[in-house]
Symmetry: C2
Subunit: 315 residues, 2 copies
Amino acid sequence: MITKLFKIKYPIIQAGMVWVSGGKLAAAASNAGALGLIGAGSMKPELLKTHIQKAKSLTTNPFGVNVPLLYHGVEEQLETCLQEGISIFFTSAGSPKKYTKFLKNHGATVVHVTSSPLLAKKCEDAGVDAIVAEGFEAGGHNGREEITTMSLIPQVVDAVSIPVIAAGGIADGRQMMATIALGASGVQIGTRFAVTKESSAHQNFQQAIIDSQFGDTKLMMKNVVPVRLLKNKFFEEVEKLESSCASKEEFIKLLGKGRAKAGMLEGDLDNGELEIGQVSAMIKEQLTCQELVTNLMSEYEKAYRNAAILLSKGG
Amino acid sequence: MITKLFKIKYPIIQAGMVWVSGGKLAAAASNAGALGLIGAGSMKPELLKTHIQKAKSLTTNPFGVNVPLLYHGVEEQLETCLQEGISIFFTSAGSPKKYTKFLKNHGATVVHVTSSPLLAKKCEDAGVDAIVAEGFEAGGHNGREEITTMSLIPQVVDAVSIPVIAAGGIADGRQMMATIALGASGVQIGTRFAVTKESSAHQNFQQAIIDSQFGDTKLMMKNVVPVRLLKNKFFEEVEKLESSCASKEEFIKLLGKGRAKAGMLEGDLDNGELEIGQVSAMIKEQLTCQELVTNLMSEYEKAYRNAAILLSKGG
């Protein structure tokens, strides 16, 4: 049970997201009975420290930090977290072998994010406490195999004996219920938490998600790092490069610096990089974290009752 | 209830698949309590007639025919079906407006396959009795929006008031349960039925599916007609064209004629086109249709009981 592992009320993790999930969102998610995560990927150690302290000032419930392992300065980030008393780490985008033992030696709970059953097994062997298995429909960076949540979760559940947290394609309680049916022990939700009152996603970005329609996101830049983006002017420029088989260097040049910050934190909807999941099309309003968690659990119960119909009548 | 609509025991449809689902498979699926479908896409009218008559000789349960609407000779196929007394039609790959009224006027039940909520609404307006909503992970031809089953089903369910049958990513009872949680009224299963004793998929092809691993399928030929393929020599040739931004004409030339038949019916694993879904990696053995349906329902019940744990304890 991941609720026991993290000492939380509901098996819901608010995903750590660059530029979107600071101390305010993490604390609000944790206060609502979920596990809040600060997304350290976009933070220098000093800023990360500020966000951890902010979260501590806003909640007495457990919260954690998501640390992508592919950037420079990972060790400084981890040290900052440990100094601030963080004991729940979600690591991603790198080898689980490198820091799991180090963090476990400091008494921390460690979860690694993966998009394949093979890597999930490696995470288990490296000693992590749980896995996040993330499908193709998820926002932001994604795996190269393009395996969807529906296909992925049972395969990861069958590959490991530690708890599996499902991610990708989960915006409501029906989808939460679906991943539990697949064998997951809980869910990690990004996109839906990005459109909350406590999210630091810019109001323009939140409105763009609310306005988005079916098919408005796509997995792009597969020859650099695959990332799911919301369609905008920048997206069109990426698409143009893709349809002309541009080189990796041309993509990196177009990407430049600060695109994600400009789009997601500062609200530049034309030139910014807008990372979001397929369920963007399902989000129709901004909620508070408390409203979101309450909705998820009541929708879950309703979906559960509906699913009973096949059992009683044989269809 | 789609069980009432089709007069079947379980809400399971065996997908109509080119070269794989003839009269033998459709009858076996129907005898097992599912709805069997003959895949007419690969059949001339005379052969279709033979398969319908074969199915009639093997079962007294209802079965239907899947007719893709994009080929020449569709009207002849539909006429053949009606003459042979077929009253359940699954149409796909074309406009639902064109033949739904014609078939309904002949007293038939009509279901149309779609991969978007917008088209689902158009199907409902055209008068179909139910929708198949098919996600990105499905085998064979697929939509351009790349929306996964997890994201797609709730959006289609919210868009229409007729029953929605989920397809794509369903190989076991956990996945069946997941799609019911998402709001589907039943499931359409292709890949898993392709690897059965009664399937007409060549033994080589069935073994290749059993041997396949995680990540061994991919959606290809997006600038012609997107189709999910199993990796083989032909796949590599397609991939080479894609990575060089080849023209549509070059793809069509490579594809040539008879690739799918060669691969799926005749077992040419090098030069054949092997259409299959992501769940290919989950299939470890050939079953009979009866074993498959029995497993699906017992796995469904188990998944249902497991999902109760969140309700009783709040996680």
